[in-house]
């Protein structure tokens, strides 16, 4: 099998201000595969996902990204490999309208404007947001914000995306669009880890790799 995009080895993370700690003996996540991170509230699902994408640094053990220690990379570099969709997508939207949301990072990085705009428009079309490209991000529904945040992540073309409880607050129709988005990403060989305790998600992706988290322990 190929090198896993994300690999945690004997990783332990303890919150500096709290007593909660998470230990993960072994975890391997591959591109093109879907994994479900399941567990009750407060079990450490979000901590695991933030650890897996380098937002938190393990106190002991290792995090490898494409086989290389993540400690060598800054968050900016990690973002080119792993994307993270926060539980509250509004927190990762920064611009005034949808199109600008996808292009401003490229402008700051000094990338080719035309190329960035074409890529952004293609992504907006792919995720059904092209008609809303001039709309203020504050006038989007939760589902639309989520798709826009995903588009913004995909501007980096990451090999893996972690979705933190993506079905929270979505109605049936918005959930359907989310499932189609997930299927679309998997078809395009993007690996996905979905944090959830939603039975609908679990039954829909029954073939997915299940990662159980309980009381700060990861049981793959």
């Amino acid at each position: 099998m190929n090198t896993p995009v994300i690999c945690l080895q004997n990783a332990v993370y303890k919150y500096p201000k709290g007593s909660f700690s998470l230990s993960c003996p072994a975890l391997e996540l591959y591109a093109g595969q879907i994994s479900l991170i399941l567990g009750p509230n407060g079990s450490g699902k979000t901590t695991l996902s933030k650890l897996a994408c380098g937002i938190y640094k393990p106190d002991s053990g290792k995090l490898l990204l494409n086989g290389e220690p993540a400690s060598r990379f800054s968050l900016g570099k990690i973002g080119k490999t792993v994307g993270y969709l926060f539980q509250e997508p509004g927190r990762q939207l920064f611009a005034t309208n949808c199109l600008e949301e996808l292009t401003f990072v490229g402008e700051i990085k000094g990338e080719d404007k035309q190329q960035t705009a074409v890529l952004a428009e293609n992504l907006l079309k792919r995720f059904g947001l092209f008609e809303l490209r001039e709309r203020s991000i504050y006038r989007l529904s939760r589902g639309e914000k989520q798709r826009l945040a995903l588009c913004a992540i995909l501007m980096q073309n990451p090999a893996y995306i972690i979705l933190d409880e993506p079905t929270t607050g979505l109605d049936k129709q918005a959930r359907q669009v989310l499932y189609e988005t997930i299927d679309d990403l998997l078809t395009n060989s993007v690996g996905l880890a979905v944090i959830s305790h939603d039975h609908e998600v679990i039954s829909r992706y029954a073939q997915a790799k299940i990662i159980k988290v309980a009381n700060g322990e990861v049981q793959p």
Binding site: C53, I55, S74, L75, G76, K77, I78, G79, K80, V82, G83, Y84, F86, G90, R91, Q92, L93, F94, A95, T96, F104, V105, I108, K109, Y138, A152, I153, M155, Q156
Partner: protein
Amino acid sequence: MKTCDPRTKLLSILVLTSLAIIFRNPLWMLGLAICSLFFAVAMGSDFTRFIKRFRHFITLLIGVAFIQIIFVRTGTPMLTIGDFSLVYSDGFNRGVATGIRFFVILCAASIMSAENHRRVTQSLLQMKFPYVFAFMMSIAFRFLPLFATAFTEALTALQLRGIELKEVPLGKKIRLFTYLLLPVIAEAIIKAQDLAIAMEARGFRALPQRTSLMQLKFKPLDIMLIIALPLIFTAVLYSYNIFGGI
């Protein structure tokens, strides 16, 4: 002193920060800094946490002090290279004093950070501040950690979009920070609106008078400090005018 009344703590902050603004002499400022640190620790401020937070401000503090040292060009030359005097006594004194002043203000702020927000609100009410003002203060205290979390998450999300903060030139960095502040401010406004609606729904300001079960009472130590602090303030100020003026 950890269990001091919030009013006593507010008075000590007022004394410390007033002296920090009045003092110009670095030696007097240094003495004040030591006293402030003692007060902060004695009044329950978490020393380790304070040092951790203070580390974030060290660059700013040194930068401000450095600017004063270099650009204030009055007094006697202290460091001369060839014919050019790099540091003057006034610049040095002002730079060091500014740095220490900043430290004193942080120490003073840390005194209240350890205090329960409900007690702060009550202390303001018992000092005859309008309830709306006291409540606003307590909300601000309570929301600060939430804003800090929102800001950190936004910064992380932005970096995960492939932005190397260290590599972004200054002009673009300023633009980047305007993008960064947008979701934090927007979230603050939304939270404020939601909170206002929730409070109205629960009858906030439905009646002009509010009563409170909690009543703060001064302890002997509070009374002693409330008498002593203004006396110490006056005595220190008097001494400074005689011995410390530069």
